[in-house]
């Protein structure tokens, strides 16, 4: 029973981290920008789910689709307001500040217009399962669906290949005539969708809560930083490992220890290999 609880909690939380990690990756691949908004967008997935389905009483499927739409719009707005204006001077790292500003705005608006406390999230699936509750398997399902979807997009569609081309070398891609700007907008919309999907599927486990923003932001970043930026495989493996580790440490040593342990491991691993455990070192340009 105990093992089951640790494993199901760990995998579910890990799947959420993995999804947030993929959100980081999709934005990064399209623009070489790390965005602070990944966690806040994830948080909004829970919040809008709770508003549409819980408070406004919409049917689950409509509420879900509307939440995804909000995510897509949000992604485009983020691209337009905080990313595009600073892309010209990527080396000045202004995106760190502009995306931080956007994340703060999202958090603050949520605090003012929604709630500063955690709000329960409605049941999504009407039937009950015997031992593995939907609050555990929904995030895992969302994660699997996202990976399969992305895999299909990248391997089997023209637009997916164009994404890959831009991620690989956006100068060359532009020279080939790929519409870089439009593809970037599309990937930010996609990142927004994946982000809210994470928060929505996690709703019953994590509630619709403001404090999920910073939480998702940090723990979603850990696996991508360690797995190498842009690597979805790293995000998934790292996210699941992180989720399981946290639950085990939580149970045996308490929450504070598990946070400190994750932080210390994260710092040491990054100091040892700044490019990530799986990433390759880049040559410096003089």
């Amino acid at each position: 029973m105990l093992v089951q609880s640790i494993v199901s909690n760990g995998l579910a939380v890990g799947a959420i981290y993995a999804l947030i990690g993929i959100t980081y990756n999709v934005m990064f691949s399209a623009s070489r920008v790390f965005s602070f908004t990944a966690g806040s967008v994830g948080m909004l997935g829970g919040v809008f789910g709770a508003i549409f389905i819980g408070q406004m009483g919409m049917p689950v499927i409509i509420g879900f689709l509307l939440t995804l739409a909000v995510g897509a719009i949000l992604g485009v707005v983020i691209e337009f307001v905080t990313v595009r204006p600073v892309l010209k001077s990527l080396d000045q790292h202004l995106y760190v500040l502009s995306t931080l500003a956007a994340a703060l705005m999202i958090q603050q608006l949520t605090a003012i217009y929604f709630s500063t406390d955690a709000v329960p999230f409605p049941r999504v699936i009407p039937f009950e399962t015997a031992f593995f509750d939907q609050k555990f398997w929904l995030p895992i399902l969302a994660c699997i669906a996202t990976i399969v979807g992305l895999e299909y997009l990248f391997r089997h569609t023209l637009i997916g290949r164009a994404f890959l081309a831009i991620a690989e070398d956006n100068y060359a891609a532009r020279a080939l005539g790929l519409p870089e700007t439009r593809l970037r907008i599309a990937s930010y919309a996609l990142a927004g969708v994946i982000g809210v999907l994470a928060g929505f599927s996690a709703g019953q486990l994590m509630f619709a809560s403001l404090s999920n923003g910073p939480l998702y932001n940090f723990y979603g970043f850990v696996p991508v930083a360690l797995g190498g930026m842009g690597s979805n495989r790293g995000a998934v493996v790292g996210g699941l490992a992180l989720g399981l580790f946290q639950q085990v440490a939580n149970y045996f040593f308490g929450g504070v220890f598990s946070s400190v342990a994750v932080f210390v491991v994260f710092i040491i691993a990054l100091l040892a290999r700044p490019e990530g455990l799986a990433g390759a070192a880049t040559a410096r340009r003089v």
Partner: protein, 593 residues
């Protein structure tokens, strides 16, 4: 001529450098006359925040490290001072000792919080400081015996005469003035310039001997100590603290105050801190919206006024420059800087360096002697710049050695080359756009100064000696390259050709035995190239060995004593200009018939 340049305003920045202290003293000193006790309370808060922000300013505004979670250090300082003063860990300790202890612990954690910056890139570092701030709050909640957990503990009580609200006010003001004075000293010292250099021109900073880790460690210790003391005072001001008092919003306030104020400024962030602290206090309906407003301000600053308040106040650099400027070098003054010629030899043996499958340099041998101009030419991609980068320590070759007078320097980092008096310029000039031309040149004299960080902090005699010496040499170096008139102009307002000469002036500050020039004539007019040639010849006559990478064949064959030709990473030919010019393979591969 030099005197003229000094009179023309070079080095009259004294008043400007002290302006922040002056402003704070006048406003703070007169506030009790025109403000009531509520004003006093708000102002005390501003001073306490400023003590922290002044230190953080060196990290964020000067060194460009995006430390967004600095509230963690305020928390650590607050709990340390409170717990010690209340005797929760040790027997009760007097408040001042407790504040000092908060400073020490703050310094230690400042170092811990900052260490990742030595290895990690911007966003990663920002994340680690953020992570630290959440963890510190969690620990404060959990460690009940010391911190009181969620219930909280009393802040340290100040002893008389600082126990009254105006007494406390003047204590905070005094500390804020002292801190402002210290950071002004740092800002006007080689440490301040070096911090800006690692922010805006890291590669060039290494080449003049600035060692980033050591510099950042000093700054993190200092900044952490200030944050710790500020935390202790914050606890005293609040009189009772719980983990809720240290929200992430505070971190945001500190961080944004600096960016609104402007990077590399002290007055700007000071005004920024005051505005952001006061704003919610005087507009009650805004309290709820304050963080949102900060965020909007941050976005507006980033997108619209990247220079912040400081840029708006910078009237000096709006004056138009003379459009028809000429660079007139005065090589005859070189003796004033290169007064002690050293005899030396730089030897490259069998250097091999590949990137992936490409052998960029494939077994190159090269000897450079002091007093000679040695040309290094070859088609694009033949390994010229790579060779230069190996000599200056940016690349470590897979095989072969670089040695100076028999001493192997191959494995030493780029920052050690300055001490060997090996100076260089870059293919695209690497200067600090936001600093003045004079400051850019003074950077080059980094290894020539001997004062420590603490000596500069306290403005001890050695700091003044260093500054006077560096300034004088920099003016001479600028006069030699013919740019002394532009000494006080921001470097990003200069033309491309002028930047090339500024880089040479900076290199001269290192009193180079060897000067490596990477395409110095690129982008220069015909007249300028002629003057450059004369300058290079004069430098070598003073006893410096010049390695010249260049595409202008005329310049090379005019001024070089020896020429080496590279092709596909290998030495194709080497000899006097005449031998090389008639070498059959050179003509085929590079020069053309």
């Amino acid at each position: 001529m030099i005197l003229e340049a000094q009179k023309a305003g070079v080095g009259t920045g004294k008043l400007e450098a002290w302006l922040p202290v002056l402003v704070l003293a006048i406003v703070g000193g007169t506030l009790p006359l025109w403000g009531d006790s509520f004003f006093g309370l708000v102002a005390s808060r501003v001073y306490i925040y400023w003590v922290l922000v002044a230190g953080l300013n060196l990290v964020v505004g000067f060194a460009g490290q995006l430390a967004i979670g600095w509230v963690s250090l305020l928390t650590i300082g607050a709990y340390t001072a409170s717990a010690l003063a209340l005797g929760r860990v040790t027997p009760e300790i007097p408040t001042f000792l407790a504040l000092a202890a908060a400073g020490v612990l703050g310094a230690v954690f400042g170092l811990i919080a900052g260490l990742p910056a030595l290895r990690l890139r911007t966003f990663y570092f920002a994340m680690t400081t953020l992570g630290l701030s959440t963890i510190v709050t969690q620990i404060a909640l959990a460690w009940k015996t010391v911190t009181g957990g969620g219930v909280g503990i009393q802040g340290p009580a100040m002893p008389a005469p600082f126990d009254s609200s105006w007494g406390f006010y003047f204590f905070c003001l005094g500390l804020a003035l002292f801190v402002t004075w210290m950071t002004c000293n740092i800002s006007a010292s080689r440490y301040g310039r070096s911090l800006v250099a690692i922010r805006d021109a890291e590669v060039a900073a290494e080449s003049v001997g600035i060692y980033k880790p050591k510099l950042l460690v000093s700054v993190f210790l200092f900044s952490g100590a200030l944050a710790g003391v500020a935390g202790g005072l914050f606890a005293s001001l609040q009189s009772y603290i719980t983990p809720d008092a240290f929200t992430f919003d505070l971190s945001v306030l500190f961080f944004i105050a600096i960016l609104i104020g402007g990077r590399g400024s002290i007055l700007g962030p000071m005004i920024g801190t005051a505005i952001l602290t006061i704003l919610p206090d005087f507009a009650a309906p805004l309290v709820q919206w304050s963080t949102f407003l900060y965020a909007v301000l941050l976005l507006a600053i980033v997108l619209l006024v990247p220079g912040g308040i400081a840029d708006l106040l910078d009237f000096k650099n709006r004056r138009p420059l003379d459009k028809h400027r000429e660079i007139r070098p005065r090589p005859e003054l070189l003796g004033q800087i290169l007064s002690e010629p050293r005899k030396s030899e730089l030897r490259l043996k069998n250097i091999v360096l590949s990137f992936g499958g490409v052998r960029a340099v494939d077994g190159v041998d090269l000897d450079i002697h002091t007093g000679e101009v040695h040309g290094l030419i070859g088609p694009n991609g033949s390994g010229k710049t790579t060779t230069l980068n190996v000599i200056s320590g940016y690349y470590r070759p897979q095989e072969g050695t670089v040695s100076q007078d028999g001493i192997d320097v191959t494995k030493e980092g780029a920052h050690t080359r300055a001490a060997h008096h090996i100076a260089r310029t870059f293919q695209t000039p690497r200067l600090i756009g936001e600093s003045s031309v004079l400051e850019n040149v003074m950077i080059g004299g980094n290894i020539d100064a001997s004062g420590t960080f603490v000596e500069s902090l306290m403005a001890l005699p050695r700091h003044w000696r260093d500054e006077a010496h560096l300034r004088e040499n920099a003016i001479t170096a600028l006069t030699i390259v013919g740019l002394e008139r532009l000494a006080n102009v921001r470097a990003d307002r200069l033309q491309h050709s002028e930047l090339r000469f500024v880089e040479i002036a900076r290199a001269l500050m290192m009193k180079p035995s060897f000067l490596l020039l990477d395409e110095p004539a690129a982008g220069l007019s015909v007249d300028e190239i002629k003057r450059l040639g004369a300058l290079i010849t004069a430098i070598s006559k003073q006893g410096t060995g010049v390695l010249l990478v260049e595409h202008h064949a005329d310049l090379i064959f005019d001024i070089c004593d020896r020429v080496t030709v590279l092709n596909l990473g290998k030495v194709l030919a080497s000899g006097t200009p005449d031998e090389v010019r008639t070498h059959r393979e050179v003509v085929n591969a590079y020069l053309g018939a």
